[in-house]
Amino acid sequence: MRVISTTRRELLQGAAMVAAAGFAPKLAFAQDAARRLIVAADSEPRNLNPAMIASNGVFFVSSKIVEPLAEASYDGPNGLAPRLAVGWSGSEDGLSATFKLRSGVTWHDGKPFTSADVAFSAMQIWKPLQNLGRIVFKDLESVETPDETTAIFRFSKPTPFQLVRNALPALTSVVPKHIYETGDIAENPANTAPIGTGPFRFGEHKPGEYYKLVRNENYWQKDLPKLDEILYRVLPDRAAAANAIEADEIQLAAFSAVPLADLDRVSKIEGIAVVTTGYEALTYQLIVEINHRRKELADLKVRRAIAHAIDRDYVVRTIFLGHATASTGPVPRNDTQFYTSDVPSYPYDVAKANALLDEAGYRRDTNGRRFSLRLLPAPYFNETKQFGDYLRQALAEIGIDAQLVSNDAAGHQKAVYTDHDFDLAIAPPVFRGDPAISTTILVRSGTPDGVPFSNQGGYVNSELDNLIDRAAVTLDEQARIALYQEFQRRVVDDLPLINVVEWNFITVSRWSVKNVSNNPRWAVSNWADTAIDS
């Protein structure tokens, strides 16, 4: 009862204020305030600066506030649609890239957006601080700003423009220079309350409860956004997300927040749509990381035996309930530029796996065991944990006794990427549209200890390293693609890691939400045209 009376009082007060101020027409606007989208959030990143931390957990919230130079698109040229940049081109020699920027854009605090902001973001944040930018922009020497709407990137070594282009959606979130130029960037208060140019401003964050984003009235695209407010309700329990959307407490659950096992049931409910598109540019790969310091695993025959022991169809069918595809190699099948199916394959064949292990000299003892090793499944997804349970059994079939070691997320990262305290690990890296962004680092040697999702298994193959380095400076697109196809063949042949399956997430939304999944990175795009019918 109290709740009702409070609401009524508030309503009366509100009405009184409106009447007193003589803003009668605003009443209609007050009704518009119902255009609120409530979304499930399963994690609460503390640092919401996408220019620093290019990860989907951060983008999910901050991509509505801070925009990149260009966004992925289903029908745009080269799969891109303009955002803060309206045009881009690379020089013949690969030493510069020119961006024409949008004019008339203002930051949420009213200051104008100019090329100086792009130059600052690139030189001070993307290149030195960003997890992915460190690789792609490593040769970026300077950014020239001849006028307020032109930014020219100068590279010290030839940098393929194809790579720069493919990196635009995820790596080029632009943050305001005037906010970040003083003080330590990592400690800037705008990291927790971001200021950008996007269709929504940061409202507030109540830890454990919600993030609130509110409409940017001065968005550069007229009549957008179509929502007044986005509320991210923190629901770490996945079963709760399914129930909440059924009860219409939330209208959208992205990133498979509704467990795969519930999809079939949920899809039959009137008013709820299960959308499997909108994640094409965010393909996750399920891989087995191998510690090549173990003498057994340094033997190619053993690695091939393990590859033969994994029944990929079973993993797709049982663990992913059909919402995944068996991998052929380090580039996912849905990639349109680099993928090749012309690679060696390791069909599920237990007899062959056993024969390979016998051949390698690891015979079964009286208990039927050849050797034992430690298996560390990443705790980030249900599916990675379940695949850990499955892999243990698959390895038991070929006489390898795998002991599961479970850790929390921080413990897992430390064990695998810093301490190298593992034999096999299960990881879900993301393919981001170009192998040079976050894929070659998984096998290239020489990455310092502690970098997550990089080669920390002690694998060193100078031929493969050379190939990766050559591809990184090859400017001709066709030649570059050919090198990355060779890269795929070499990786699958030598198995520095084993690619098992690749998957895209699933969005569950109420029918009232419009324009869902209309670009290949939809969940982490700006949602300017997302609308809700009340």
Partner: protein
């Protein structure tokens, strides 16, 4: 034997035994009844119970036999319950005896430590311990014992305080026995019965804490546990609720059985006193 008969004459004890004995037998026979790895994938995933005679309780999300897991899980649950209770009782009895018999300084120090442990909820203590040390069977047992020893320690101390004034203790001292010998030979055995009465409570709570730890993913991942099974089933709670319900029932039966046995023992002791 009369005390055993008195114990068995109580309804609680009989009901408790009727539930616990089959569980113990199943747990002991697990390697015979379900040889091989209970985590092996044996059939089609998510097979409901009572569909196939070879898999009477069906299969879980990966196609593993639920019955085999349940029986092997009984082994883990009972093992952890008993081992944790045994270690808690041992630690508690020793510390209680030293505190009660060792003089004022030892008493003060040990009882303040005991209180410090008592102020932290046993489950939180276990949670923190396991997440730091890492989940293995031994660490889980120790983590549970860590939160369970203060109660037996306090009971043991109270008993020792009254026993140490008894004539036979004075006699032992006069005979020239050393203090440690007196404490552990003369006093501890006589102080034990009330401490042992706590065992059923400790076993029951140890089984529950183990299940809760496994449910949160802090059990030994290489062993089947009921809590782990319930957690596994939670993701498919709406479509295959049997995966959570079956181990849940097993858990209820085990905890109830241990609790009833404890009640039976308490009743038997009471009736003995009223006869005397």
């Amino acid at each position: 034997m009369t005390s055993l008969r008195r114990f068995l004459s109580t309804g609680e004890a009989r009901a408790g035994l009727a539930m616990l004995l089959p569980l113990i037998v199943l747990a002991l026979l697990a390697p015979v009844l379900f040889p091989g790895d209970p985590m092996a994938i044996v059939g089609q995933p998510l097979l409901p119970p009572f569909q196939e005679s070879a898999l009477p309780l069906g299969t879980d999300r990966l196609g593993r036999d639920v019955l085999a897991q349940l029986v092997h899980g009984a082994q883990t649950s009972l093992l952890v319950g008993l081992a944790a209770a045994l270690s808690a009782l041992c630690i508690g009895a020793v510390i209680g005896t030293i505190a009660g018999f060792g003089g004022r300084v030892a008493d003060e120090v040990l009882m303040r430590i005991t209180e410090a442990f008592q102020t932290v909820p046993a489950f939180l203590l276990a949670l923190a311990f396991v997440s730091v040390i890492g989940p293995t069977l031994a660490s889980v047992v120790f983590a549970i014992a860590l939160g369970a020893w203060p109660a037996p320690a306090r009971v043991a101390r109270a008993e020792v305080l009254s026993i140490r004034e008894k004539d036979y203790v004075a006699a032992a001292r006069v005979v020239g026995k050393r203090p440690l010998e007196i404490a552990f030979r003369e006093i501890l055995p006589n102080a034990l019965p009330p401490v042992l009465a706590l065992s059923s409570v400790i076993v029951a709570s140890a089984i529950l804490i183990e299940a809760a730890l496994s449910f949160l993913g802090l059990g030994d991942p290489n062993r089947i546990t009921w809590g782990g099974m319930i957690a596994e089933g939670r993701t498919v709670l709406r479509s295959a609720s049997y995966l959570s319900i079956i181990p849940g029932i097993a858990l209820v039966v085990a905890v109830l059985a241990v609790y009833l046995l404890g009640e039976g023992a308490a009743k038997a002791r009471l009736s003995k006193r009223s006869y005397a």
